[in-house]
Symmetry: C2
Subunit: 151 residues, 2 copies
DNA sequence: CGATATTGCTCAGTATGCTGACTATCAGTA
DNA sequence: TACTGATAGTCAGCATACTGAGCAATATCG
């Protein structure tokens, strides 16, 4: 019987678990209540003003049914606005608010610190190598999940 | 602004997302409906007959509040039995059933195939290196999540 | 022995993620 | 233009994960 530690799937779960915990702790320490998922969505909306939900989902590889709730919560927190698109009445355009911008600015150091902490067991070179290998494996498996990356 | 692809946390999420999808697809293809989490719990119960829930949680790094539901579903599927411990009336002893054993045996090839597929973009050497780096990062971050590994 | 702390487990509540189904709308074509 | 297919979004339902609270039972220590 293979050990859990020889299963990339198990290791993936463990690493993600730690990554989320570190992110929440760092962001919480500076007084904000934002999840990794909400952060990625907010940052992507800021970088792509007026984008619709499907495009956003493709840019960060979220399922379209997941993104609904994430956006609900960002709207509820006053960090973004959701309004009907004038060009396509099915679509919703997303825009970051001033408060969203302020929040992003304030938590950026905590987010960066979180990324360092979750790699703290590795040397700089090893951290780079881990990210390179993850990127490569992810690229090869992109189409295997329901929420692939779309550029 | 850092790109998502430079964020280990984001890469962790993506890799895990793919890993789960591949696992479910492979196991589903041979006619079983078992999640990665349920599989790990089942295999660990088989390897450690009569263990209690807290010990199980520690061995696979699950939160104790998560394991309750996982065990409920394994019991409901008839794969394990949960009974009160004679030594400690707070604890529940877990035991795999014959059907649990049969299920494990039948899905093992699918589980192994899933592990290969999620690394299909990498050479054998790269796959080994990815697992080594993940293990190292996880070891250093073990205490940072609410559900650390306990041996 | 008795008060206190700790432990095993559960529950309510919240937030991802997914499957599958549905509505509304848009796009392409006969 | 009417039909057909595809697309944007939502919803119900299920399965992780976690926070925080609580109960029952055990362990520990004065």
């Amino acid at each position: 019987m293979k050990d859990n530690n020889d299963m990339p799937g198990h290791l993936a779960r463990r690493f993600q678990q730690i990554a989320v915990a570190v992110f929440l702790a760092e962001v919480g320490d500076v007084g904000f209540d934002l999840t990794p998922v909400q952060y990625a969505a907010l940052a992507t909306i800021k970088a792509n003003p007026g984008l619709d939900q499907v495009t956003l989902a493709g840019l960060i590889a979220y399922d379209r049914t997941t993104i609904t709730g994430v956006i609900d919560r960002l709207v509820q927190k006053g960090l973004i606005e959701r309004r009907a698109s004038p060009r396509d009445r099915r679509a919703r355009e997303l825009e970051i608010t001033d408060e969203g911008r302020r929040t992003l600015r304030k938590i950026t150091p905590a987010v960066e610190s979180a990324q360092r902490i979750m790699l703290r067991g590795l040397s700089a070179k090893e951290g780079e190598e881990l990210m390179r290998l993850l990127r490569k494996a992810i690229a090869a498996g992109n189409e295997l999940s329901r929420a692939p990356l779309r550029e």
